[in-house]
Amino acid sequence: MMSKPHYLIGIVLLLLFAGFSYSAFRDTLTPYVPYAEARERTHTVQVAGGLEAGSSSYDEASGSLRFTLVDEETGDTMRVRYQGLKPANFEEAVSIVAIGLYDPATDELVADKLLVKCPSKYQGLEEKTYD
């Protein structure tokens, strides 16, 4: 016979796991924030914006891509550094989402993931993720 203590242990385990999931959820949650907010956070965030024309440069030796995002509404800008190969069609991107952590030392968002939206004549936009 399953006794009361068994149920209790089960419930406690479930609650523990719920707590564990909640903390994992909080740790991995990357909120969409304006640039000013991103500069204050010490946690991974995501910022979106358009690519400032002519702002991108690729340093082959270190393999890092630098560019400036522009917030189309406010006109704010944010420098982004992405360690990795330059995504295809990068220059044509109409909107870029960068996920990463702000580095106050260089005033750059160090992105570990980019989401590039390119114009397409197909329904909506083509998107591709780069890790």
């Binding site: 016979m1 399953m2 068994h6 089960g10 479930l14 796991f17 564990f20 999931s21 994992a24 959820f25 740790d27 991995t28 949650l29 990357t30 909120p31 969409y32 924030v33 907010e37 965030v45 995501q46 979106a48 082959e60 393999g63 990795g84 190969l85 330059k86 295809a88 069609n89 044509e92 989402v97 996920i99 993931k113 989401l115 390119c118 397409s120 004549k121 197909y122 329904q123 909506g124 083509e126 998107e127 591709k128 993720t129 890790d131």
Partner: protein, 757 residues
């Protein structure tokens, strides 16, 4: 009203309205037949038959419009084009939202026919609920009619997204929608049973349907993963993308449901919970559809769909069906007799319950992660969770499942003593310990991972022992469940090995220069231009000191019409791993600097470095007679220059060309000369009769092309696919087994009924 009709393609719209009409007739007929009117039941059956014909015709009309490339119809215009090959017209069918809802409805309608038979005496209620679920889809199609016409007829369609021009795209989505459509079947059985206040029969009948849904949705998920891995070049088979999760969540609830139904069928337990689970499967299908199709995740998903104004309707559908099941389950809860829980702790019943709870938690956690943008919508800055959330939360659950799976086969319903259990587990534990030792020797260094391997092999072995025992004693079908669990064990090993021990390197290499990654030597040999239907390819040679050699041909090409860069990886399956080579970027190098330029008349020669160039004469074969007339008729004109190039006393003939197209643009593709230089026919001066020959790379070497690529070694990834195949095979055996069981139970019930009357 009539004006609105002008914008609809009538043959198609008509079939939709017919479907609505016959659907309503079916509902009316079944409502009448509830009072025992056999004539009304015949009427309802015919109604449903005509409903199905209408839906099938509707799909046929859209397909025909696509094949005929009838660009008056907006949907055809959006997803088809003159250049699209016929077999991809099928992919165009489900490339958009409207078409995919139609495919879903198409399968839903067809599934209703065998369902009618399988529902037996509960036909009227089951079919009423089922038709109601189909109405949800039908209304979406009526609102967002796929047969809307454009004001003007375009000459050509927009074309199908090149990502979707793939054989997998032809087959993967329709199978997915069979799975989705099957999700409504156990729900209909459950709701009908609650409605009738008799929940004694539905589980047996719904069981094979739930298994079939589990199998088909599983197949679709397998195909989706395979497609992402082999063709799309995502780097893996699973990325925890919302669209992937959207199919996984209902599938996991389906897994819980089939175990719940097993408990009910064999032990009479879970009679209430199974009703909840059957609803959960269907509601999670609706919720997933809402998440991925309504645009709520638009900013967060890799392949999100554009909002189509159906989100309110999808919300309404969810609320209505949720309300229906909550009300019915709550109001009947007390009346449902269920066997009291008499299981001791170390018993099969108790452990099956633990397993179902674990898988439920899995599904809930994944659903919560996928819904993160909605769950945090109230905050100032909504966010999303990345793959690490899913990996972190699912790892302990996978470990727990591995343990439960290992133990269940040797537990009995009555309960087992710990001593006896351990004794039975001993042979499997020896196998698992050996495998763990092998894993440690092969380089698995993390204790946690070793524990994972131990549990996975233990689960595999105990279930295999039991499968064989079942096959011997009770036939193939009875072993299906255990066989599926063998597959789970195999898959867990594959997932761990290929994701935690993959070795990935992103590198940029110059043509011809071998580069070393661990024990592999990678050389970019050459770029192969497009040849007919064969896309641009890159030749990459991979060698190893032990004599292994593989020439990979990954593809990297710009789609002509979209200027979109697309990569197709090359996947080489070796005995213990996959070698995955995906191009990222091809850089042909800076345009070469022109070192020499000569204006030559036919017969004249010039010297450039160690080369002697003699202009032998023009090649006018590509002119096609009158060049002006040819240009006027929209064709391009090609002029060639025959050059005799001598180097170290050897003479070769080359013919660079000058191509002029009607729009006035010209192209001067260079040709290779002996010694690695390039020559191009840059222009022609018709008045003086000279050709301008430009040379590059004669004195200084040409800039070498560079290739950026991702070289990944994924150990034992074949076990992921292999394990899934075994799971699906087990599912198939169980489906057949449970179908026989349902028929047998029906026969007994019929005999009893006959005896009573």
């Amino acid at each position: 009203m009539l004006q609105a009709l002008d914008h609809l393609y009538l043959p198609g719209a008509l079939t939709l309205w017919c479907a609505v009409f016959f659907g309503l007739a079916t509902l009316w007929g079944y409502a009448q037949s509830l009072h025992g009117d056999a004539g009304a039941r015949t009427f309802a059956r015919r109604g449903y038959f005509f409903f199905t014909i209408s839906v099938v015709l509707c799909a046929f009309v859209l397909w025909l419009a696509l094949v005929r490339r009838d660009f008056r119809i907006e949907y055809v215009y959006q997803f088809s084009g003159l250049e699209l090959p016929v077999h991809y017209q099928l992919a165009a069918f489900w490339a958009g939202q409207k078409g995919s809802f139609l495919v879903w409805l198409f399968w839903g309608a067809l599934i209703g026919l065998p369902l009618m038979k399988s529902a037996g005496r509960d036909e009227a209620r089951v079919m009423s609920v089922y038709v109601l679920t189909l109405f949800g889809l039908l209304f979406i199609l009526v609102r967002e009619n796929p047969f809307v016409m454009l004001d003007e007829t375009p000459l050509d369609g927009a074309g199908l997204n090149p990502l979707l021009q793939d054989d997998w795209m032809v087959i993967h989505p329709p199978i997915m929608f069979v799975g989705y459509a099957l999700g409504a079947v156990p729900f209909s059985f459950a709701i009908a049973a609650l409605w009738q206040r008799d929940v004694s029969r539905w589980a047996t009948r719904a069981f094979p349907w739930a298994l079939a849904g589990f199998m088909i949705l599983g197949t679709a998920i397998l195909m989706g993963g395979y497609w992402a891995y082999k063709t799309l070049g995502w780097g893996g088979y699973w990325g925890w993308d919302p669209v992937e999760n959207a199919s996984l969540i209902p599938w996991l609830f389906g897994v819980v449901l089939i175990h719940g139904l097993y408990l009910e069928r064999t032990r009479g337990r879970y009679r209430r919970i199974n009703l909840v689970l059957a609803s959960a499967v269907f509601l999670s299908v609706l919720y997933s559809t809402y998440l991925t199709r309504s645009g709520v995740l638009a900013d967060f998903s890799v392949h999100s769909f554009v909002e189509l104004g159906i989100s309110e309707w999808l919300v309404l559908m969810q609320v209505a069906f949720l309300g229906m099941s909550v009300y019915l389950i709550a109001s009947r809860w007390k009346q449902i007799e269920t066997r009291p829980n008499e299981d001791v702790f170390l018993s099969r019943g108790a452990f099956l319950v633990f397993s179902t709870i674990t898988v439920t938690v899995c599904a809930v956690v994944i659903a919560a992660g996928t819904s993160a943008p909605l769950l945090t919508a109230w905050r100032e800055h909504p966010g999303q969770v990345g793959p690490s959330f899913y990996n972190r939360t699912n790892l302990p659950l996978a470990l727990l499942l591995g343990f439960l799976l290992s133990v269940v086969p040797f537990l009995t319903w009555k309960g087992t003593t710990l001593r006896e259990l351990l004794r039975k587990l001993l042979p499997a534990a020896v196998v698992a310990a050996t495998a763990t030792g092998v894993a440690a020797a092969a380089g698995v260094d993390d204790l946690f991972h070793l524990f994972f391997v131990f549990l996975a092999v233990l689960a595999l072995t105990t279930n295999l022992q039991k499968t064989v025992a079942r096959w011997r004693n009770r036939g193939m079908g009875a072993g299906g469940g255990y066989l599926a669990h063998v597959g789970v064990g195999v898959m867990l090993i594959g997932i761990l090995a290929s994701s935690a021990y993959d070795k990935s390197a992103k590198l940029t290499i110059e043509q011809g220069k071998p580069t070393q990654i661990d024990d592999l030597t990678i050389t970019f040999k050459r770029y192969i231009p497009r040849q007919g239907r064969e896309k641009e390819r890159l030749e990459v040679e991979v060698t190893r000191a032990d004599g292994f050699r593989h020439v990979a041909y990954p593809k990297l090409f710009v789609n002509d019409r979209t200027r979109q860069l697309m990569a197709h990886p090359d996947v080489k399956t070796l005995p213990l791993m996959d070698l995955y080579i995906s191009p990222i970027q091809y850089d042909p190098g800076e345009p070469p600097e022109v070192e020499y330029a000569f204006d030559l008349k036919p017969g004249e020669s010039a010297r450039a470095g160690d080369l002697t160039i003699r202009f032998a004469g023009f090649d006018l074969q590509g002119m096609g007679g009158d060049a002006t007339a040819r240009l006027a008729s929209g064709q391009s004109v090609t002029v060639g220059a025959r050059l005799e190039v001598s180097r170290d006393g050897e003479t070769t003939e080359v013919a660079p060309v000058f191509v002029l197209d009607p729009s006035g643009r010209f192209d001067t593709p260079p040709v290779a000369l002996p010694g690695g230089a390039l020559a191009a026919l840059a222009s022609i001066d018709p008045t003086r009769g000279t050709a301008r020959i430009e040379l590059a790379g004669v004195d200084a070497p040409l800039p070498a092309p560079k290739l950026s690529l991702d070289v990944t070694r994924k150990p034992l990834i074949q076990l992921v696919w292999g394990g899934l195949y075994v799971i699906l095979l087990g599912g198939l055996l169980s489906t057949v087994h449970r179908l026989r069981d349902a028929r047998r139970v029906d026969r007994i019930a019929d005999r009893l009924a006959a005896r009573q009357s």
